[in-house]
Every structure is written in C-alpha cells, then in structure tokens.
C-alpha cells in the first residue's frame, strides 16, 4: 500500500521524513525527563522549549501561550471546560451545527449537566448568519466555540468577524483550527481568538500530539491536574518525541504556506476535471471561502461507500460523508446541515490533498473515476432527477 494515491489528508497525514528524523533521537538516545535536575534531562527540556517556539511561531503567538496536548479532542475539551470553570456563573455555550464531534458531543453532555447550548445553523454554502450569532449572545454566554475550517467541506468561517461580535459580549472565544493550521496563515497577535486547538497528525507529525493556544491573560483551569508541567496547565510527563515532532512539523508547515497555491492548483484541477467529465456532480459548500486542499463533491444517485471501495481497487484513498461509511446510519451532520438533497448527500466524496500530492496522482484519479461512477450509476435504480420513485422519496422526506 506504499504507492497509494493518498487524498484523505483531512483524516490524517503522512509523517514528513524530516519530522521523523527530528523525533527519533527522543525515542532512543535522549530519554531523559525534561523536569529533571541533571544535564541529561536538561537537554531534553531544551528540545521541548525549541518545539514550543516553533509552534508559537506558526501561530504568531508567544511561547508561553502554547500548551502541548495529546490530540485535537483533548485541546477542544480542555478549552471548553476551562472556559466554563473559569466563569462558573455563566451557563451558556454557543457553537455551530457543523463542528467536530469533539465539540458537539461534549456540548451535548454539558447540556445534560445543566448548561444551555446554542447550535448556530449554516446556510446552503455552509456559512453562518451573523444575526443569529448576535441574537444568541448574552451576558450569560461563557464561551463561543467555532471551527476555523470545516473538516468535511473545507469551508472557512470568517473567524475575525465572528470574534469581533463575541468580544462585545465578553465571552471567551475558542477556535478549533485543527484543519486550518498549516493551510491558512494565522497570527494570534492581531486576532480575537482566546483559545485555539491544533493537532499534529494533520500537519505531517505523528498521532498523539497536539497543542492548545491560550491567550495571555485568559483565565484557564486545567483539564488534567497533576504536576507542574506546561506551567500547571496540563499535568503529565511530556510526550517529548511527539512534541519535538510537532515543533518540526510546525516549522515545515510555516515554510510550506508560501507554496500552498500549488496545492490549490491541483485541487482545482481535480475539481474542474470531475465536474466537466462526470455529469450530475456538484461541489458541496462555499466554493470560494474554502481550504486550498479540500473538495467535497456530490455524485448524484449513487452511494459513497461504494465509490470509496471502488477507488480503493485503484489504490486511491478518499473519504465520504455517507451513512454507510460511518456506521451511524445517518449521513454526515455537516452535509445535512447544508440542507443538501439526499441524492447528493449519500454520494458525497471528500478529496483532501497535501504538499506531497502530485499532478500525476490527480491525473490518475481523473482517469479512473468516470468509469467507477458510470458503473455504479448503471447499478442504481435512480439515474435522473426525473425518476418518479426518487422524487417521491425526496418529497416524502421534505414533508417530514
């Protein structure tokens, strides 16, 4: 499977060879504890400090504002729970319908614990309504948590405009930037963001490492209570190799930002190719305000898992928001929030590129995809919007 065409980079990414090289010594030679009072541990402590600077630099933040975590989910949980604990009298949370489960399921749990949660809706492009946000904000709102860019559609929210509104009401502003980091230039110095989550394995570092940005002056309570590590904001002995890897990955991501346009060109080539060669295909979500590496395309009248398994035969990796791939029986909450018709919803495929994606790979996808889609459409009882059966089904659903 080494030669697979990997277009599922929003799920996870390949570890960069330079990242691997940077971290390996900390799994073998330099096994010291950074907290130890001896030179052997001390040099490990220096590596952690360097990594912190590298991550801070990518975000335009100060070193002291970075806390290392184990993953994006930890970052999201720590941020929301910290914001709530720091403001015990405020019992209201605002988020969106299209967040990652790390936020949505946490919010559902918090509702059971007595908090009120507002889930902001999105329009057919996947964008928020500022009026709805303003109408939802009150003095009781503890935290507003909005993702920077959506993992499924790549749609980017106007974070700073949202932040301006949030600040007027004195709420803490948390941004899940797991998908945005390394793809969009970020600068915390000029930002309204208070807390920001990022994850290593989305930017060519290994799984099991992430970071949380905590703006200086924002009241914070730790999720993991233990030793003095991370200045008391995250107990537990540091995942040194992971931290070093994240530092290196952040440095490389920053360099790569300058050439992100190439990724966008390849994405556009893939997208334009699909839309022009294969009939009855649509782009899901805002085509303009979107991550440069992501496209989510609806192939009408067929089902996503069948497309993925067909692509897999050609060693092409992508993902789908269809019900069948999730095991949950319900298609993606993100695509449903966009109000897409079911004929598009179930046949949606996400292709997400990385800096390692080549033009040859894109050409190969464009070569085999039309045949795959054609074959599955031949099998399907629905083959056009005119099919009576299909129309009845769609209407029955709308009537519900």
């Amino acid at each position: 499977m080494n030669d697979c065409i990997y277009l599922d980079n929003n799920a996870t990414t390949k570890i960069d060879q330079d990242v691997l090289a940077a971290m390996l010594p900390y799994l073998s030679i330099y096994y010291g504890n950074p907290s130890s009072m001896h030179t052997f541990g001390g040099q490990v402590g220096r590596a952690v400090r360097q990594a912190r600077s590298q991550v801070a630099s990518l975000l335009g933040a100060e070193d002291s504002e970075i806390v290392f975590t184990s993953c994006g989910t930890e970052g999201d949980n720590a941020a929301i729970l910290a914001a709530l604990k720091a403001q015990p009298k405020k019992k209201h949370i605002i988020t969106t319908e299209v967040e990652h489960p790390a936020i949505l399921n946490l919010c559902r749990r918090l509702e059971k614990e007595g908090y009120t949660v507002t889930y902001l809706s999105v329009d057919s492009k996947g964008q928020l309504d500022f009026d709805e946000l303003e109408a939802s904000l009150t003095g009781n709102t503890a935290v507003v948590s909005v993702m920077y860019a959506n993992n499924e559609t790549g749609v980017i929210f106007p974070i700073e405009q949202i932040g301006q509104i949030v600040k007027e009401y004195g709420a803490i502003f948390h941004v899940d930037a797991v998908q945005a980091v390394g793809k969009i230039p970020l600068n915390m110095k000029t930002s309204t963001i208070d807390l920001l989550t990022l994850s290593g394995h989305k930017i060519h570092a290994p799984k099991g490492i992430g970071a949380l940005y905590i703006r200086k002056g924002v009241r914070f309570r730790p999720l993991l209570i233990g030793g003095h590590q991370e200045r008391g904001r995250r107990g537990g002995t540091e995942n040194v190799a992971g931290i070093v890897a994240l530092g290196k990955a952040a440095e490389l991501a920053q360099q790569h930002l300058a050439s992100i346009a190439r990724e966008k060109q390849l994405r556009d080539k893939l997208e334009r190719g699909i839309l022009s060669i294969i009939p009855n295909t649509v782009i899901n979500g805002d085509p303009v305000n979107r991550l440069p590496n992501t496209t989510n395309i609806g192939f009408k009248y067929i089902e996503g898992e069948a497309i993925l398994l067909s692509l897999d035969q050609f060693d092409i990796c992508a993902s789908s928001g269809s019900a069948c791939t999730s095991g949950s029986l319900e298609p993606s909450h993100v695509l449903r929030a966009l109000g897409l018709p079911y004929s598009v919803l179930h046949g949606s495929i996400r292709f997400s590129l990385s800096r390692f994606t080549t033009e040859k790979e894109i050409d190969r996808v464009l070569e085999v995809l039309p045949g795959i889609i054609h074959r599955l459409r031949e099998l399907s009882p629905f083959n056009s919007d005119d099919a009576d059966w299909l129309q009845e089904q769609e209407q029955a659903v709308l009537a519900k």
Partner: protein, 298 residues
Amino acid sequence: MWDYTDKVMEHFHNPRNQGAITEKQEGEEIVTGEVGSIACGDALKLHLKIDEATKTIKDARFQTFGCASAIASSSALTELLKGRKVEEALKLTNKEIAESLGGLPEEKMHCSVMGQEALEAAIYTYKGIPLDNHEEDEGNLICRCFGVSDTKIKRIIRENNLTTAEQVTNYVKAGGGCSSCLPDIDDLLEEITTEKEKSIEVATTIATADRSSTAQTTKTLTNIQKITLIQQVIDREIRPVLAEDGGDLELFDIEGDLVKVILKGACNGCVSSTETLKIAIEATLKDRVLPTLTVESV
C-alpha cells in the same frame, strides 16, 4: 473499514444479474418489488420474471442504490432466486442471503433484510396482495427516523434470535437515527423473551397435563363423537392451561382429521409461540382422541 468477506467484495465488483427485466414471452409475468429510499441511503428494485404455468422464477435482476454490501446482497439474492418456485422463494430469509455471502458485518445486516423485503414485495405484487395491507404496516410505528413498526421489529427479532437493541439497529436500522426509540426496542425484546419462555412453559404443561378427567378411547369414532370429544378435550384440558396466561382457543372447524383452531388473547400474533402451541395441542389431541389428528391455526 468494514470487514467484508471476499465473497461480498467479489459480488460488489462483479455483480450478477444487474439491471431491469423488460422482455417477456407468452405465459410469463414480470413483477418488481421496491424497498428502501434515497433518504435511508439504500434502495433496491428487484425484478422477477415468473413462469405462469410452473410458478417458477425464470429470471431475477436488481437495481440497487447503496453501499458495497447492499449491492452484494442484491446480487446474491438474484442468484438464490433463479429457478425457485414462488412459494419456496417466499420462505427465503435475510439470514440465507447473508450466509450465501459468507456473512455480513453486524452493522450491515440490514442490507440482507432489504433483499428479503424486496423479494416479499415483488411476490406480494405477483399474488395481487396489496402492499398497503401488509401486516407490518398495521403495527405501531416505533422508529420514526427510519419508519419501522413494532411488527417488523418483532419479526426480525424472532427470525434472527436477536437479543440486544444494537442488533435490532444493525438489522432494520430502527434506533439508528435519533435513538429515542431504543427503550421501546428494549421493551419489544423483553416481550419476545417472555413470550418464548411462556409458550415453552404452556406447551410443557399441556403435554404433561393430568388426563384422568377424560376417558381414553381406542374404538372407532363416529364423526359426531369425534367432534364432541375434541371439543371436550379442548374445553377441559387445553383452554384452562392457556387461560392461566391470558390466552384462549376456539374450535373453528374439523375437516376429516384436520382440526382448525383459532388462537386468541396472548396466544395470538406470535409466530414462535403459535408453532410451539400447535405442536402441544396436536400432541394432546392425538393422545386423547385420535392419533391421526393434525392441528392448524387459522
């Protein structure tokens, strides 16, 4: 990634009998059965060509919107159907479809259920039974997200010996949406477990009941004697036992040695308990009246 068998993948990549049936000869009929919907994420349109004289399925084809296992299940179904008599085909269960593929992941069992339902729909159409009168439509709606009735859930629990709500979701999707009906599904599971235990208990009681109250007879009976004796055994030995559990039985008719009865109350409506009871009642009547008697529940 799903753990599909090689057979599932083989049927998915090389499906048999795809497409519609459009041409027929004299003495053949084409019927279709449709299940699922685009909203649910899978749908199957099954086409059957039936030979009128022999009531045999001459050709079966499918059109499927769905995942790999839905396509494979449809393909396997058509293979199983070709050459079968209509009445035989109607007995096909979702389990057989899944088994013919070397099994399906639990979460994908609903794909095989879809195949069985499309088959049933096609044959009902062939027989002229209106689909609206399908018994399952008369049940109470349990899962609103996927439109699944209690009758259907109970049937699938019995046919596949399911024991958890999670399994029910995997087989018929019920409970897989908002999951607010999961407690109701648990109730149905409980109901069927109790039902099974009761029917076994009742059957045992009947089979071992004290027979001293009615005289054993071996001589040849006149028709009127036979009817009277059957009625007597039912009234004195069988009904009291059933009544203890809220059930009842009525003698409907006797045709030769065939005793037709109507099960009532708690006895009614459960396939497995009906079957168990029938055997127990039959055994009692054979023993008490005539060894050649058979019982049918109408």
